[in-house]
């Protein structure tokens, strides 16, 4: 129990904030982080959609290996990886339990492995791309690919405001705790304590929303005085803003390399569809 307690102690709102922001913004130092956002988005589009339609396990495995490499290249935070693995394992776990319940056996694991492989490829692709693209470049990339500017801006603003919101969440949570009463006994398996915490975590959102609503009045007004709506109606501004985006030779190299790998992979996959199992 002590180990659990220590692990829980390490998870604080502050910690989560740092991890999130680190993942979001600490990316321009990696190889993938230096690529043009459009390259990454196009690349991601392929790996987020195609695996759904592929049942060839050799191809999936090949994609998985590529994803592992790009994940390592983009230096993803261990927290995020932990959450991913936890999600995948628990997913498989309960599906397996369910299959046992309906009379399945160990052999039902194999088809599930295929599904897991697909999910892993897609998740790792998402992690790679989104931890290599800071919200700013993501928003500019989307905007240059034709996504409405309003949406692209909200995306980057969402990230800008995230630390503020987390900070406030933390403060309000503390207000609840400083004035609240934790159950005197932990209860069976810490049940009572858990219920107490879950309850206040939910309750915190109400004051948070009200305060945010109040605050956003100034933001909207300020956007007006800072010429935001002027920019929206002015294509020249968009061009100026995106003028820094540039496809470099590394972008073409990355894209053509990926294409080559995938072509070879499909060829290999059709020759040996059951290389794995």
């Amino acid at each position: 129990m002590d180990a659990v307690k220590r692990a829980l102690d390490r998870i604080s709102v502050e910690q989560i904030k740092l991890e999130l922001l680190g993942t979001a913004y600490n990316s321009s130092s990696t190889f993938l982080g230096k690529l043009d956002p459009r390259t990454l988005l196009v690349w991601y589009l392929f790996f987020a959609i195609v695996p759904w339609f592929v049942y060839n396990r050799t191809i999936l495995l090949g994609m998985f290996i590529l994803m592992v490499i790009t994940t390592v290249l983009s230096r993803v935070s261990p927290y995020i990886l932990f959450i991913l693995c936890f999600g995948l394992i628990s997913q498989i776990g309960w599906l397996f339990l369910l299959s046992l319940f309906f009379g399945g056996g160990i052999e039902s694991l194999l088809p599930m492995l295929t599904l897991t492989l697909k999910l892993s490829v897609i998740s790792l692709a998402s992690i790679t791309v989104f931890s290599s693209l800071d919200p700013e470049r993501l928003s500019d990339g989307l905007s240059s690919l034709g996504v409405p500017d309003m949406f692209a801006f909200s995306l980057s603003y969402g990230y800008r405001i995230l630390p503020t919101l987390l900070e406030e969440f933390h403060q309000i949570l503390l207000s609840f705790r400083l004035r609240g009463q934790r159950p005197l006994k932990h209860g069976w398996l810490y049940c009572r304590t858990a219920v107490y915490y879950l309850r206040i975590v939910v309750l915190v959102f109400y004051p948070l929303m009200l305060n945010t609503a109040k605050r956003s009045r100034t933001t909207i007004e300020a956007l007006e005085t800072r010429g935001f709506s002027y920019a929206l109606n002015n294509p020249k501004v968009k061009k100026l803003k995106l003028s820094y985006l540039l496809m470099k030779w590394s972008d073409w190299l990355f894209l053509s390399g990926s294409c080559l790998y995938i072509t070879l992979l499909f060829w290999l996959g059709y020759l040996h569809p059951n290389l794995l199992y």
Binding site: D9, E14, Q15, L18, L21, G22, Y25, N26, D134, P135, E136, S156, Y157, Y159, R160, P163, T164, E167, E168, Q171, I172, L174, S175, F176, R177, L178, R179, G180, Q181, R182, L203, V204, P207, L210, N211, K214, R215, S216, T218, T219, E221, A222, L223, E224, T225, R226, G227, F228, S229, Y230, A231, N234, K236, V237, L240, K241
Partner: protein, 583 residues
């Protein structure tokens, strides 16, 4: 005659749904290169007035508008806010909400980029250089301190190189040195770059030192627009509206017998020095008295004890950032402790340690014999109450009554009703009991936050900047409310920049600097040491400075005390109109 850059002609405005107009037949003009302060009590229409300048009224707030506003020769009628905003930069009171980009550089370039200036980066750089933020250009906004954010909001407005700058309460949350810094920047913009500057300001000392003209708003109309000395010398009129002129001015006014109208008074310490002389009559020096009190307190029961406490925070770059470096501190029963120091000196962190909200990296914190390190905050909540700087973060219910009762109900105390009533009464909240605390005014919100804390009947109450963002008359009221607190709580600790508050309220002062305690003593010990205050990023109040300059037997902190000790010079030297009968 210089050209008017801004002119309002007979402007009347009513917010949609309101019965009374907020602005009533307002006419005014600002000439190029003006530095004007807009003053007035809360709700007199100061912010509303300024929102007419850039067309937010009537274009953004679609109320009932009549009259005309002319900005840089352009009538606001038929022009959008965006168009008018090219000429006028606006910095909000809650400036944090106007920063919409993640990094400093992005934010400062945001406006010029929106207007399609190809040189937006150069403009951004220039604005950063003007505000002294160039070093921080790649920082994230959320890593900046409050003062830096404020400078950035200002830089964002400057990047457009507007003719006019409007700043709503430039120094509300800053320590005295940072506040001076902002005003020095504004003065430079005004003098060297010829910008017209309008500030909404409560602090008369800054108005006296930096502004040239003053507009007094009262009930939605402009009562007058005068040069600063004439304006500040209308002491009776200002006091009647709850606006406090500089202390030096008030002192001269109090000493001036007979007809006061039309007289011009000194505005600052320099002028005051020439005006006042030390009265020979010896007034009982209170130095001995306060020292005695201090001695007696040494023997009282210990409430908080900290031993060699260190605290570091993790940063995004996975490094540790030390905020407290070896704090040893003992607080006793009955003390009124003021924790002073500049922004970022570690005041809030120290208080959070006592409240158990953060765990020290090293060392121990004891409160009432309980070791706090790592104890959940719920366990301490009956002993320590922490009042946040922003009262809104304490509001977790939908009415004032429920806010106060929350703690009591959570513990199922039998006398809940009774205690809530008592608190509502003590903090004059009975009228507001059923309202949502978020919708109250700044001063009322503070009172609610204090009532919440006091209802707990804690041994220690910790207040973070209780007078920040309040206008001066509300602040005066807060001092009284703090007196109420003295009866309910054993020890009160206040972290503040407000030297006035410290002077009027504290029995013990602790000065912090860069995570260390650099001084700890009584009022007279601390305030006499100008260098110490300087080092800690603070400043003496004008009265303290003057009492030292005039060689008074002790440092005076209140006006009454000061005026008892000095007299006006009979034949004062002519000093830019000081102590002279006005024309």
């Amino acid at each position: 005659m210089r050209e008017p850059v801004l002119e309002l002609k007979g402007v009347t405005f009513t917010y949609p749904g309101a019965d009374q107009p907020v602005l009533h037949n307002v006419s005014m003009r600002l000439v190029e290169g003006d530095f004007t302060a807009v003053i007035g009590s809360n709700g007199s229409g100061k912010s509303t007035l300024c929102k007419c300048f850039n067309g937010l009224i009537p274009h953004y707030y679609s109320g009932d508008f009549s009259g005309e506003a002319v900005i840089c020769g352009l009538s606001s009628e038929g022009r959008s806010v965006a168009e008018l905003s090219r000429h006028i930069g606006y910095v909000y009171q809650d400036f944090e909400n106007q920063l919409v980009r993640p990094t400093v550089m992005d934010d400062v370039c945001f406006t010029p980029l929106n207007y399609g200036f190809a040189d937006y980066k150069e403009r951004g750089e220039r604005a950063l250089a003007l505000t002294g933020l160039s070093e921080l250009r790649n920082e994230f906004i959320w890593q900046l301190s409050g003062g830096q954010k404020h400078l950035l909001a200002l830089a964002g407005a400057l990047a457009m190189e507007p003719e006019i700058l409007v700043i709503d309460e430039p120094v509300a949350q800053l320590d005295p040195q940072h506040a001076r810094h902002i005003y020095e920047i504004l003065r430079r913009l005004n003098v060297e770059y010829g910008k017209t500057i309008v500030v909404i300001e409560h602090h008369a000392e800054f108005i006296a030192d930096y502004c040239r003209n003053v507009i007094l708003m009262d009930n939605g109309s402009i009562r007058w627009q005068k040069p600063v000395r004439e304006a500040m010398s209308s002491v009776d009129e200002l006091l009647a509206l709850g606006i406090y002129p500089p202390d030096v001015t008030q002192a001269a006014w109090m000493l001036q017998p007979g007809l006061r109208l039309g007289r011009l008074y000194p505005l600052n310490v320099g002028e005051g020095k020439a005006c006042f002389i030390h009265r020979d009559k010896e007034v009982v020096p209170s130095v001995l008295f306060t020292n005695e009190v201090h001695l007696v307190e040494k023997e009282k029961e210990i409430v908080v004890q900290m031993k060699d406490v260190r605290l570091s925070y993790r940063t995004i770059h996975r490094t540790m950032n030390p905020v407290l470096n070896g704090i040893g501190l003992t607080l006793r029963r009955g003390e009124s402790v003021a924790l002073i120091g500049n922004n970022g000196a570690g005041k809030s962190s120290l208080m959070k340690l006592i409240a158990g909200m953060v765990r020290p990296t090293e060392g121990t914190v004891n409160v009432k014999g309980i070791k706090v390190n790592g104890l959940p905050p719920e366990r301490l909540s009956g002993i320590v109450a922490y009042i946040f700087q922003n009262p809104e973060e304490m509001f977790i219910e939908d009415s004032v009554r429920k806010e106060i009762a929350y703690y009591l109900k959570a513990r199922r105390l039998t006398d809940t009703e009774e205690r809530v009533e008592q608190m509502l009464h003590a903090f004059r909240l009975s009228e507001l009991a059923e309202q949502d605390a978020r919708l109250l005014s700044g001063g009322q919100q503070r009172r609610v936050s204090l009532a919440i804390g006091a209802a707990i009947r804690p041994a220690v109450m910790l207040l973070d900047e209780p007078t920040a963002n309040l206008d001066i008359s509300t602040k005066q009221e807060m001092v009284k409310v703090l007196e109420t607190l003295r009866g309910q709580v054993e020890t009160v600790v206040i972290a503040t920049h407000d030297m006035q508050l410290v002077a009027e309220w504290a029995s013990r002062i602790i000065v912090m600097h860069q995570g260390r305690i650099i001084a700890d003593g009584s009022k007279d010990e601390i305030f006499a040491d100008g260098q110490l205050l300087q080092r800690a990023g603070l400043a003496q109040t004008p009265l303290m400075e003057l009492s030292q300059m005039l060689g008074l037997p002790h440092i005076c902190s209140s006006l009454e005390e000061f005026t008892q000790n000095v007299a006006l010079q009979k034949e004062g030297p002519v000093h830019s109109g000081c102590c002279q009968t006005g024309a």
